[in-house]
Symmetry: C2
Subunit: 381 residues, 2 copies
């Protein structure tokens, strides 16, 4: 299959990721941080090494401020629901994923207010619209780094500056960027950073994480065994134990470490440039096909390599189905768990067909995708 | 290493588990249930098959009533904190793990009362002590199926009957038994069952689950993308989507399915009999070593294959250290995240050295462990 669904999860992964997962399972498959024997210590070390490489990638000072979660969704829930208290106000945008919107909406019944700032039809946010909505009780701004529908890149450094200026905290959803676009939590004033492990960080599914700036008061979602302060019936207050109860996904986290090492070795710029090159070929090619409507910026400097389109008035899921069954091309149709983004684009009814590029896609993949789209567009006329 | 830390996580796993994980990662590493293309559908089918084999194992009618979690701790938190409401009373026991006790204690500040029933010095629960503590507002009884410290088996069928008689719900923590001891949610009146995937179910770390009886009102811990009802800003109410936001641990869950299939093929009785045989050799052997104190029932019919002991007054972590460094035997010392169990046993200061047997241990492992204990006991005299 020509896999162009990398925004959902990257596939394939680098070989060192597969190997790291297998090594963790077969050579030292013990429970980390629980016992003191060799295999347990080795598993614990493996997990710590993943914290270390992530700290390098995101410029995080203390690796213990990284919390491992099952996915970005869990990280976003922990950050949003653990941080906001009754009476607080949170600002977010219409381009967010349901993993940001649904927790924020769910908090309404706990007395936490929200403002969802409308983006324009290409998915761009106007920073002044954020600033205009800041109130006395605004505690947090949450935005994506890049839309999972149109790829539209948000000016997170500028939003971070704005948040700092108003003494508000800033949380970034890096689901579509972590591992490809530079993220520096210090330089960008990011207080809370949520990321999936299995997308551009190239780790296995079942991994994600949350960076929490030192000293932030975030309530844990789970209590349980932490392998620390076991005599106490209340959850220990030390990081990361406070948030990491129970046996972690050791092989997954160690595989994630291998994915991040691959990125650091290869160079994040080199990976991004490869993806941008393919994105350019794709956008240029689409430009020449009649009857195709491309959503979002359609510009490689303003969007991550996520391309959403429609062909005439055809239902997006019908197009995805043909791409899969006739052309063996994997894409994702529908609403991509981002209803307000589709409302913003005007595609709530039709959905869109989303193509998303990963580090292992080739120019040949893109030209085959373009050929297929052309054929379908001709048929649809 | 002679690995006798299977109560923390089983190691090794059957080869089919390693193979299933690799196949899921390499052959169809897509995001399940999100897109409609072949690889995504195959990943989704793999996850559903794991629900199916677990349903067979636990006699669960509808596989969709099984929720996948990161570990048993998350499952216990979801079941306990999602089910209990302000004004409710919950009964549990002193033999519980911190993953039961800490959530229950944390609920006190939300106005949820608890009674922690004291077990005897071998870890046995007296059912009458549970019944005596039932109040008008008692909504839930939570007990372990077998202690993670002494292996003491709880009469869950009888407790289930008691709960039913009083119209109270019953939740079982099967962390030490799922995959080795028979569990039948219908026959045993179990309303909520929490289990780890990576212990006796032989799956990878990063897996666990919660069975929720049809119709129980349990609040989700996380909201987010579910791949269903994407146009809505509130979490969908259908199972399992309500509780499974975000990308799941697909390779882990598929590996868990392989572990459960291994158990079903081999026969749960055959695995249990093997472990009981080794337990008997171990207990008989310990009986002949002077200076060793064994905790719990010391009886293969009354305990899971978890054996806790001390040698004279030696610190338990010192003994575990010697077992690892001199004899290459992996055990776990300390409090095992179960402080009230240790208080019950009178070992809060010394801790205990825990040996736990898995399906791949051999008679030779046990005789080597006995030899090592004997040598250390002679030295310690």
């Amino acid at each position: 299959m020509i896999y162009l669904d990398n925004a959902a999860t990257t596939f394939p992964k680098p070989d060192i990721v597969y190997n790291a997962v297998m090594e963790a399972m077969k050579d030292f498959g013990a429970n980390p941080g629980r016992a003191g024997h060799k295999l347990s210590l080795r598993a614990g070390r493996g997990i710590y090494e993943t914290r270390e490489v992530l700290s390098v990638l995101f410029n995080i000072e203390n690796p213990m401020n990284i919390i491992f979660t099952n996915n970005a969704t869990e990280a976003l829930n922990l950050g949003i629901k653990g941080f906001l208290k009754k009476g607080d106000h949170v600002i977010t945008t219409t381009m967010e994923h349901n993993s940001v919107l649904r927790p924020i909406i769910a908090l309404e019944e706990k007395g936490i207010e929200n403002t969802i700032v409308r983006c324009d039809e290409k998915g761009f946010i106007n920073i002044e619209d954020i600033e205009r909505n800041i109130k006395q009780n605004t505690k947090l701004i949450v935005t994506t780094h890049a839309s999972n529908v149109t790829g539209t890149i948000f000016p997170i450094k500028e939003i971070g500056k704005l948040a700092r200026k108003h003494n508000i905290y800033y949380m970034v959803d890096a689901a579509q960027t972590a591992g490809v676009y530079p993220i520096d939590v210090k330089e960008m004033n990011i207080d809370i950073l949520a990321f999936p492990g299995h997308k551009s960080l190239l780790g296995p599914q079942g991994t994600g994480g949350l960076y929490i700036k030192e000293g932030l008061d975030i309530m844990q979602m789970k209590e349980g065994g932490t392998g620390s302060k076991s005599h106490e019936l209340i959850q220990p207050d030390i990081l990361p134990d406070k948030y990491e109860s129970g046996t972690p996904n050791t092989p997954g986290i160690i595989g994630l470490g291998a994915g991040v090492r691959y990125i650091l070795d290869k160079g994040i710029d080199s990976i991004r440039n490869h993806e941008k090159e393919l994105l350019k070929i794709f956008l240029d090619g689409l430009n020449e096909i009649d009857g195709v409507k491309v959503y979002g910026p359609a510009n490689i400097e303003e969007q991550a390599p996520v391309i959403s389109l429609n062909i005439g008035d055809e239902d997006s899921s019908e197009i995805s189905y043909i791409l899969d069954s006739v052309f063996d091309i994997g894409t994702r149709s529908g609403l991509h768990c981002a209803p307000l983004a589709h409302e913003t684009l005007g595609t709530l009814e039709q959905g869109v067909v989303r193509f998303s590029i990963g580090p292992f896609n080739t120019k040949e993949d893109i030209s085959k995708a373009l050929e297929a789209i052309k054929k379908i567009a001709v048929e649809a006329r």
